[in-house]
């Protein structure tokens, strides 16, 4: 039976005959002869196909391409372009009218459009148990071509020219391997397929064997012909039963069809294949160990040389290639080395299959041209990180490779670029890690794998990896010591240099590369006993508490709410955070992002529970409870700035018995809480109640006093202040730096909000307002402008919605209230009529390469500008400290405008002067400011001779107090006031939880802080 790779159907119905199909058919036959395709392409006359008005009609199978109104002169193109080169002649295609196009074809979704599938060309398309379907897709045509038209040397040359390199990971040029084996002395020779896929997270070999086994069989036969071997083995692990089964069936079918066995295609060439099932030892993926295993020996590596090309199976020359390498071979033979070499990069040709695993939306297998940027694989094809989490790093090469952190997302993925970053291509496992992955724990995991899989033959691997694992284990348990990291680096290098085989030589790689890029996490584990990803369970009680910058004991207060012990709950919060009422409203709640409950359904509503308990206490007691101030030390401390950082420090210092005076330049206390956050998010009376509870500790707040101007540092010293805490926040505008910025109607976001909060009318009623920026200040300004009666509010942001730094709920509420958003637009200039603003001119932005933060950098779209009509432009693009008075007083500032203070001690260069909060970090969250104030209080207490223990003592018993609800249960959502009331008033938008809702919500906590439950 003759096999044609393609059939061309020529409609010879009466309609087409009359429109000239016979001339088309003879032109086709001539064309095929001219290109020597008559043995590959069969022309078939059919009866009427139906659409006679489109005749003459040609249909090309197996693709099923439908050409209509073909003239004899078109045939040349069809033969040359389509039948010879596989390019469809689009101008002759039939285009479907309308409707069906609405249903996306699977090939059209983003996941596939950026892929180029060579090794995976058939998986998911053909029936792996049907050899006919493989043949229908050019299967065994390459073998036929090789046997009938090529000499063995030509085959090797073709593979060499294609630039194909070993896809198992090491990347050795395949053609050279074949050549060495072909030229080596010794007979018989062998062909072996390495299907001992063992990397955690890699599964492309399994997928190819399961989905397209014939492609491997065909390729191995081609290699057998090229090197002069007649026997091949596929070494596949027993854990892949389906692959073993389908491969076995495929071999049988191939034998039956005469595609394996004696005298294939009637030529003298004979080739047979056998499956060897491995027991699944990782080391058997190493070539010498694999070959030993095939021979029935213990799966252990031996030193090389001699390489298998000289001395492989039973001491005979042997080619050993990986499944994916094999799967590429038939296509290279059919489409040519030049075509293959046209894909990829200079030194890495073709495509590579990656198994996407870990924290990625589209877990699966993808095949992309070599050199595709890592970021494209992860975001465009992989769909990015689920649940809006932040990308941290990607591990390539599994336990033998290394990690690539976010700043290298633009790296073109090929053998050499990855090697430069200290990792390897490996077999193509791509494990994506997000912010919830601990880099110490991850390194430990990979090393543990190697410890388990070490065959034990050589000491560096057997003992060395074990020692490394012990050190890592200690670090994750909080028992790390100074010098551990250096020891790991030293040991790792020794093992790399001295281990016998690839397993040992690469085993330290994950540890070395994770230390290289994430050294700070290792140091944090060792010095601070902190695991920021909340993974190393010995280092914290609960992920929420571990994540809270202020370290609030969340599960304990949530449990008190569940038991209706509201006073206890409130004081539990207050111990670590003097602002429960404020944070219950405006905190960005990083704790909820790490809540384990999210693995069941949704995180516990930690923030709204905090608000509930604070509201309850205020409502039922008339004032907020607090702790008793400590016995007086007789020492005086001054705090400059009454924002969350300053007042938090004042609170804790008062508890320690210091006499604290807070100096505030503005007429009101509270800093950004008072003049930055609008009334509808944080009512003034609530803030006042909370500040009042700090005043009751004896803290004096002097408003309207600007230090450096109204009082000098010397005067303060003379007045007996022994220490000074600078917490002036970041209240100064930042210029946009564009033309027209000085026109009347351009105002900064902070000034707009400050004026509003201090009772002035910013005058936007009936006007069109454009807001520049994507942070919380921009959202607050936009929503406030709507409430002030602006006719239209438009936010212009240069990145995408998902890149906005504002709290998600603020963005959602702004959209809900009617704020318009224009994303990917940057301000160019403000234009005006006379002195007054009339529009904001913007530049359209496109997404460019990935920046250091792992987000795509917006780049101007050439020539695309537009104007947003506006009477008022609010620029909310960032703030800096108003530092002039203090700078003049001798407090050191950094170039960026922030105060220079020691990260550990919070001390500035001036003795006795500490600093913290936004004025040190730049604009940040409330809870981070509170954490900074607390830290400063500790340091100031130590400086003044105290023990630094500023948090009130409490006895905490971690025990289960009721039923733990593990079934799904919806999260309690606080309601909000309706839209109409929102737009005509500054009434608080969010409503609190009712008592019953709060108690029920508290019951959703899984109490992961209780260890022995």
């Amino acid at each position: 039976m003759e096999f044609y790779r393609s059939h061309v159907l020529v409609c010879a119905g009466a309609g087409c005959v009359s429109s000239g199909c016979k001339a088309v058919e003879s032109a086709l036959i001539d064309g095929l002869k001219r290109f020597n395709l008559e043995k590959e392409v069969r022309v078939v006359e059919t009866g009427c196909m139906g659409p006679c008005d489109m005749g003459p009609i040609l249909v090309v199978y197996p693709e099923g391409v439908f050409y209509r109104k073909v003239k004899p002169e078109d045939v040349g193109d069809i033969v040359e372009q389509h039948l010879l080169k596989g390019r469809i002649v689009e101008r002759l295609l039939y285009t479907t009218p309308g409707t069906r196009d609405l249903v996306p074809k699977i090939e059209e979704i983003d996941f596939f459009t950026k892929q180029t599938r060579i090794a995976l060309r058939n998986t998911g398309i053909v029936d792996p148990e049907s050899i006919e379907e493989y043949i229908a897709r050019d299967g065994y045509a390459a073998l036929g071509k090789v046997l009938s038209t090529m000499k063995p040397e030509q085959v090797i040359d073709e593979i060499k020219r294609s630039g194909l390199r070993g896809r198992g990971g090491a990347g050795f040029p395949t053609g050279m391997k074949w050549e060495f084996t072909a030229k080596a002395e010794g007979k018989p020779k062998f062909v072996v397929c390495n299907a001992d896929e063992g990397d955690p997270g890699a599964f492309m070999d399994r997928s190819v064997l399961e989905g397209d086994p014939h492609s491997v069989i065909e390729a191995m036969a081609i290699c057998g012909y090229a090197i002069g071997a007649s026997q091949g083995y596929v070494y596949v692990r027993a854990e892949y039963p389906l692959a073993v089964d389908r491969l076995g069936k495929a071999i049988e079918r191939a034998k039956k069809y005469g595609l394996l066995g004696d005298n294939i295609f009637g030529t003298p060439f004979s080739f047979d294949l056998e499956i060897r099932v491995g027991a699944g030892a990782f080391v058997c993926g190493e070539e010498t160990a694999l070959l030993a295993s095939i021979m029935g020996k213990r799966g252990e590596p031996r030193p090389r040389p001699p390489f298998p090309a000289q001395s492989g199976l039973w001491g005979k020359p042997t080619v050993l290639n990986n499944v994916e390498t094999w799967a590429n071979v038939p296509v290279i033979i059919l489409k040519g080395a030049d075509w293959f070499a046209s894909l990829g990069t200079a030194k890495s040709k073709g495509t590579k299959v990656f198994a996407l695993a870990g924290k990625i939306t589209n877990t699966g297998l993808v095949e992309v041209p070599m050199g595709t940027p890592l970021g494209e694989i992860i975001y465009d094809i992989g769909g990015g990180i689920p649940k809006g989490k932040k990308f941290k790093a990607a591990q390539t090469g599994g336990p033998s490779g290394g990690c690539i952190p976010a700043q290298y997302l633009n790296t073109p993925v090929d053998y050499d670029s990855l090697a430069q970053l200290g990792t390897i291509m490996g077999s193509g496992g791509l494990i994506v890690m997000d912010e919830d992955t601990c880099m110490v724990d991850m390194a430990k995991f990979f090393l543990e794998f190697c410890v388990d899989e070490s065959c034990g033959k050589c000491a560096p691997c057997r003992v060395g990896t074990k020692r490394m694992h012990e050190i890592l284990d200690r670090i994750t348990k909080g028992e790390g010591k100074e010098g551990d990291v250096e020891l790991l680096l030293d040991l790792g290098q020794q093992i790399k240099n001295s281990a016998l085989c690839g397993l040992g030589q690469t085993a330290p790689n994950p540890v070395l590369s994770m230390i290289k890029y994430f050294r700070d996490e290792y140091d944090e584990h060792i010095r601070e006993k902190k695991c920021r990803a909340s993974v190393c369970a010995s280092l914290f009680d609960s992920p929420c508490q571990n994540t809270c910058p202020a370290g609030i004991d969340v599960p304990i207060y949530v449990d008190y709410i569940k038991q209706r012990k509201y006073a206890d709950a409130y004081l539990t919060v207050k111990r670590d955070n003097p602002f429960p009422l404020v944070c219950g409203r405006v905190c960005d709640h990083p704790c909820e992002g790490k809540c384990r409950r999210a693995q069941v359904d949704e995180p516990v509503a930690i923030r709204t529970l905090k608000r509930f308990v604070a509201d309850w206490e205020l409502e039922h007691k008339g004032e907020l409870p607090t702790f008793a101030a400590g016995r007086t030390t007789g020492k005086k401390v001054a705090v400059i700035g009454s924002g969350p950082a300053g007042l938090t420090a004042a609170h804790y210092l008062a508890l320690k018995g210091y006499s604290v005076t807070v100096f505030e330049a503005l007429p009101v206390a509270g800093g950004m809480l008072a003049v930055g956050i609008p009334e509808y998010r944080l009512p003034k009376q609530m803030l006042a109640a909370e500040i009042d509870s700090i005043r009751r500790l004896g803290v004096e707040i002097r408003t309207g006093v600007r230090v450096g101007k109204d009082i000098t540092l010397e005067q303060m010293k003379e007045q007996g202040y022994a220490a000074l805490f600078v917490a002036i926040g970041a209240h100064a505008d930042q210029k946009i730096g564009i033309e027209g910025e000085d026109l009347e109607g351009v105002v900064s976001g902070v000034k707009f909000l400050r004026d509003l909060n201090l009772g002035e009318d910013p005058g936007v009623k009936g006007k069109r307002v454009a807001v520049i920026g994507g942070g919380n200040v921009a959202m607050d300004a936009a929503r406030s402008a709507l409430r002030l009666g602006a006719a239209e509010v438009t936010v212009v942001y240069r990145r995408r919605k998902e890149d906005m730094p504002a709290i998600q709920v603020e963005i959602d509420e702004a959209i809900h209230e009617g704020v318009k958003f224009i994303f990917l637009a940057a301000p160019l200039k403000v234009t005006g009529m006379g002195n007054k603003v009339d529009a904001l001119e913007c530049q359209r932005m496109n997404l460019g390469e990935f920046d250091k933060s792992g987000r795509r950098r917006p780049v101007p779209a050439e020539g695309a500008t537009f104007a947003v009509a506006a009477d008022v432009v609010i620029a909310a693009i960032g703030q800096a400290p108003e530092g002039e008075a203090l700078r003049n007083a001798g407090i050191p500032f950094l170039k960026g405008g922030t105060v220079e203070a020691d990260a550990k001690t919070t001390l500035t260069a001036v003795d006795g002067v500490f600093a913290g909060g936004d004025c040190v970090t730049g604009p940040d969250t409330v809870i981070n400011a509170i954490a900074a104030g607390k830290k400063a209080a500790r340091e100031i207490d130590k400086y003044l001779g105290g023990d630094g223990d500023v948090v009130p003592k409490a006895v905490i018993e971690r025990a289960i107090t009721g039923e733990i609800i593990e079934r799904e249960m919806p999260r309690a959502e606080a309601g909000s006031i309706d839209g109409k009331r929102r737009l005509c008033s500054f009434d608080e938008v969010e409503l609190g939880l009712t008592e019953e809702a709060a108690v029920r919500e508290a019951g959703r906590c899984l109490r992961c802080d209780v260890k022995d439950a």
Binding site: S6, G124, P128, T361
Partner: protein
Amino acid sequence: MRVREGEKETRIVVGMGTCGIAAGARDVMSAILAELAARNITDVTVSQTGCVGLCEYEPLVDVIRPGEEKVTYSYVNADKARQIVNRHVVNGQIIGEWVIARKQ
């Protein structure tokens, strides 16, 4: 001739790689076969295929009606599979909400 076969009748292809099977493709396959048998439908080819790469969305089922584009359904279970046979294979109505989504 095999090259052209299958084009005259509707084909249903179930993703039966390890990923598909782990996600329940066997139940889907048997539900499809049972439904076709119950409705006495014989002009439909049901076949299996390997992993197409979208493991996250398995079980995947392709329906190819003659002369129409392939439609791919994701997250199919036995119940959805029966409905796909009834609504799409028999009545030609594509069930849009289950079709694998194109990213906006």
